[in-house]
């Protein structure tokens, strides 16, 4: 059965392009031009995954409102922000509202499709019984590569998809310095240095919320970051 993906994007050409690309990858895509049309449809039936632009027609933050409403309707529904807005603030706001990933429109269609697939994989993995999962354990850290789940001291750390890939890349080879480019490649995103830095900062903060003594991610100035045990 085809997965239903909803795209809420006010730019028709872009909307069609995304829809076509995702349809090519075997998804059932519904595209909406504004928040009202989208909410109308979502009230009838929730999609399996939603890709939302932040500014929708005349609502500058319509995407945030939509995300909030969707998250209220379903806690599990995967939501991806796909936006031209690339500020740190927007990213933080979006992720705080419960989005699973925050992508800028620099992302290529194949990358987008890969992200979508990864998210579905995580959802599927969560639904599957625990079996033969790819588990990485590094001290207090435990990463379930299938379910894309991370725990620290057995407490779940809610990472966005990008953040998950970063932690995954670092923790898989502890002690190895990963430079920014490697982290970007791992996360399948095109980001500039500052965005990587702010991602790392956010990841650290999320671990610190669980364990104030967390300092496993170390900055190697001039080179990148590494995971220390």
């Amino acid at each position: 059965m085809k997965k239903n993906i909803a795209i809420v994007e006010d730019e028709p050409a872009l909307r069609e392009n995304y829809a076509a690309a995702l349809a090519r990858h075997g998804y059932a895509v519904k595209a909406y031009g504004n928040r009202h049309l989208a909410m109308q449809a979502f009230r009838v039936r929730l999609p399996d995954l939603a890709i939302i632009d932040i500014s929708l027609e005349d609502e500058a933050e319509g995407g945030f409102d939509l995300c909030r409403d969707l998250r209220a309707s379903s806690a599990e529904l995967p939501i991806i922000f796909l936006t031209a807005r690339d500020s740190e603030l927007d990213a933080v706001s979006g992720l705080r509202l419960g989005a699973d990933d925050f992508l800028t429109k620099d992302v290529s269609l194949p990358h987008l499709a890969a992200r979508v697939a990864a998210l579905f994989r995580r959802i599927d993995a969560l639904k599957r019984p625990d079996n033969a999962a790819e588990i990485i354990r590094r001290g207090a850290l435990m990463i379930d590569g299938d379910k894309m789940q991370t725990t620290w001291n057995a407490v779940a750390v809610t990472l966005s998809l990008t953040e998950f890939w970063i932690v995954y890349a670092l923790a898989r080879n502890p002690g190895h310095v990963k430079n920014r480019q490697q982290l970007m490649d791992a996360a399948n995103v095109v980001l500039d240095d500052n965005t990587i830095t702010s991602h790392i900062k956010r990841v650290r903060r999320k671990f610190l919320e669980i364990d104030p003594a967390f300092d496993a991610i170390q900055t190697v100035y001039g080179m990148g970051y590494r995971w220390v045990e």
């Binding site: 076509a20 090519r24 031209a84 429109k105 620099d106 500039d192 100035y221 001039g222 080179m223």
Partner: protein
């Protein structure tokens, strides 16, 4: 011209105050003088009118005789005291105003006459180098014994002729054997006694007419006293040298109409004194300007009293000078001066003159009109020194006051100018500094709360700067906005290319797609750079500060660069002790990244990049220098600006000069600064970042 100078010039216009005061004082003085003239003229007129009502008390002679000094006419000064017969005229008590006796042969003699109630006095000074005494009996032969005979004997003598009331003339002569008292002598023939008897003396002595003969170096003085009873109308006087060569004076034979005596009028002094006030002298003159009577004194102030004020320095400024005034003159009892002449011609006249003592006098003369004819005039003299002093005092006061006012005005204006200049200067400095070298704008202006025009100017500046600031902000965010706005269409193109690619294209089509993709890739890089500045600023704002060791950070970073840039050589110089800094290590590392990237880009392959950290008072100095080319001076000041680009195009990668801008932002975030310079040895550029210690 500075405002200070301009206001000084304006202030100098207050010098018109002293000038105006001076003009005013002059007018005042003129008015004062005028009124004084008028009052004195009025007094003179009053006296003249009173006198013209009783001409018999004023004029002894009813005819209008013309005084003829050459004809032997003589003015008889009224004497108030009885002089001693001693050959000196000093006891006469009147000024020496002699009549020079007419002469034909250079024999010189001067004569002055005076009279008391009973006597007529004559005083003559004769220049005679050789004294010829009257011969005495011892020197003569027996035949000539007896008094000297004026017809035969030769001796210096004074001849006088007195006209009697009946018109007959009595001739007398004076001679002396030795200086001293002598009596008049006359020949018997002249006395009218018949020469019937040979024994009768030929020369008679008249003891009632006496004279004193005083010999001097120049000649002799002759002072004679004649009872008024001998004097009826005319008197001739002749001085004759003993050797017969010289003579001066007049004789009845030569001048039958001359020899008149002009007396002052008896009782006129007393009459005049009833008219005049203190400090005024009144003189009545006849048509010949001879004084008939006078009363009163011109009060003379001590000369020194007015000297101080008179010599004030502004005297020259005012051009008040008494020295050009005519001097009061009197010769032989004849008064001079314009006022006298005018009055005698029938018109009253006032005039300022100078007395012989050099003091200023005001004279006023009014004619005494009898039967429509000016028979004489009244001359009033008054001392003007008092008024002068008053004027001087007023001028002094005026000058002091106006000069003080002017000086005060100048000082006040200068202070005001200094204050204005200070305010304007402050505003100008603020305006100069309003736009920083980095384009930052300081909006607050001094003086903007002032309510005057300078305040308005300051507020104008503030509005201007606010508008400029808005515009600058707009320009600054333009890049970010553009990158944002362009991103969507770019994404459309790229996603379309993605879709197109997945359609299974032919080989030649695929190459076009690849080219289009490369183009969009470059566009995307540019847009990312454009928006990067805003993102950097944002991330710097959110950076958290921790305390860390700068030395360790630099050491590890440089170690990483050695790996990262294997073709460049790095020289590192660090202090021995840890250098603790409170800040964001991520940002400092980023700052280093940018500095090193920049250095690597510019450093030639064989060159080296040296990095050093040093402690300086209050801060750390981090320098990165390279062996690259020198940076032109006009580029140096823009190096740290956002999106400034100066490159020689070593690669085709687009650069937007964000690197050094980030360096500056990070340095400023830490309270430090960043600057670039060319190395002193000319070998390249050196970038210095200062970071304050904790």
């Amino acid at each position: 011209m500075s405002i200070r100078l301009q206001l000084l010039v304006v202030a100098l216009t207050t010098l018109v105050l002293p000038w105006a005061g001076c003009q005013y004082a002059r007018e005042l003085e003129a008015a004062l003088r005028g009124s004084q003239e008028q009052s004195l003229l009025a007094s003179a007129g009053t006296i003249a009118n009173a006198l013209s009502a009783q001409p018999q008390r004023v004029f002894r002679n009813s005819d209008l005789r013309s005084f003829d000094a050459r004809g032997g006419d003589l003015y008889v000064h009224p004497l108030t005291n009885q002089p001693l017969l001693d050959g000196y005229r000093e006891d006469w008590g009147i000024p020496w105003e002699p009549t020079v006796l007419p002469t034909l042969n250079g024999y010189r003699a001067r004569l002055q006459a005076g009279s008391t109630e009973r006597y007529l006095y004559l005083y003559a000074e004769v220049d005679d180098s050789h004294f010829d005494p009257e011969p005495n009996d011892a020197e003569r032969g027996p035949a000539d014994r007896g008094p000297a005979d004026p017809d035969k004997d030769r001796f210096d003598r004074v001849n006088i002729w007195l006209q009697a009331a009946d018109g007959s003339n009595a001739a007398y002569f004076f001679g002396t054997t030795a200086p001293g008292l002598t009596a008049a002598q006359r020949t018997a023939q002249d006395a009218g006694t018949a020469q019937t008897d040979d024994d009768s003396p030929r020369v008679l002595t008249e003891p009632r007419i006496q004279a004193y003969w005083l010999q001097t170096a120049q000649g002799y003085h002759w002072e004679a006293r004649i009872p008024l009873s001998f004097v009826a109308g005319r008197l001739w006087l002749e001085v004759r040298d003993g050797n017969g060569k010289g003579s001066a004076g007049s004789t009845p034979t030569a001048n039958a109409d001359g020899g008149r005596l002009f007396f002052a009028t008896d009782g006129l002094d007393g009459l005049l004194s009833t008219f005049i006030r203190d400090g005024t002298r009144a003189t009545v003159i006849d048509t010949n300007a001879l004084a008939l009577g006078s009363a009163g004194n011109v009060s003379t102030l001590p000369v020194g009293a007015s000297e101080d004020t008179r010599s004030s320095w502004y005297g020259a400024l005012l051009d008040i000078d008494a020295s050009n005034l005519p001097t009061l003159t009197a010769t032989g009892g004849k008064l001079g001066g314009n006022s006298v002449h005018t009055a005698l011609s029938g018109e009253p006249r006032a005039e300022w003159v100078r007395s012989e003592e050099g003091q200023m006098l005001l004279t006023a003369a009014a004619p005494i009109i009898v039967d429509h004819v000016a028979r004489g005039a009244v001359l009033l003299e008054q001392n003007a020194e008092q008024m002068l002093q008053l004027r001087d005092r007023a001028f002094t006061r005026l000058f002091d006051l106006t000069l003080t006012a002017t000086a005060t005005a100048v000082v006040v204006m200068l202070l005001f100018a200094a204050w204005m200049t200070f305010r304007i200067g402050r505003l100008r400095n603020a305006a100069d500094a309003a736009v920083g070298s980095d384009g930052s704008i300081r909006l607050a202006m001094p003086e903007s709360r002032s309510r005057d025009e300078i305040g308005a100017l300051a507020r104008g500046f503030e509005r201007l700067l606010a508008r400029l600031n808005e515009h600058t902000q707009y320009l600054r965010t333009l890049g970010g906005k553009l990158s944002h706005e362009l991103r969507t269409p770019l994404t459309i193109v790229r996603s379309s290319l993605d879709n197109l690619e997945s359609q299974g294209l032919q080989e030649d089509q695929r190459s076009y797609i690849t080219r289009a993709r490369e183009g969009t890739q470059r566009l995307q890089t540019i847009l990312t750079s454009l928006g990067a500045a805003a993102r950097v600023e944002e991330s710097i704002k959110q950076a958290e500060r921790v305390s860390f060791d700068l030395r360790e950070l630099i050491a590890s970073t440089v170690a990483a660069y050695r790996d990262g840039f294997p073709h460049s050589s790095f020289a590192l110089q660090l202090p021995d002790d840890p250098c603790f800094l409170r800040g964001a290590p991520d940002l400092i590392a980023q700052l280093l990244d940018k500095l090193i990237e920049n250095a690597v880009d510019f450093c030639p392959p064989a060159g080296s990049i040296s990095i050093s950290l040093a402690r300086e008072p209050g801060h750390y100095a981090l320098t990165v220098s390279n062996d690259g080319p020198r940076i032109p001076a006009e580029v140096l000041q823009h190096l740290f600006e956002s999106l400034y680009e100066h490159r020689n195009g070593r690669d085709d990668k687009p650069h937007f000069g964000l690197g050094l801008y980030i360096v500056r932002l990070v340095a400023e975030f830490h309270g430090g600064s960043a600057r670039a310079a060319n190395r002193d040895d000319g070998g390249g550029a050196v970038f210095t970042v200062t970071l304050p210690m904790i």
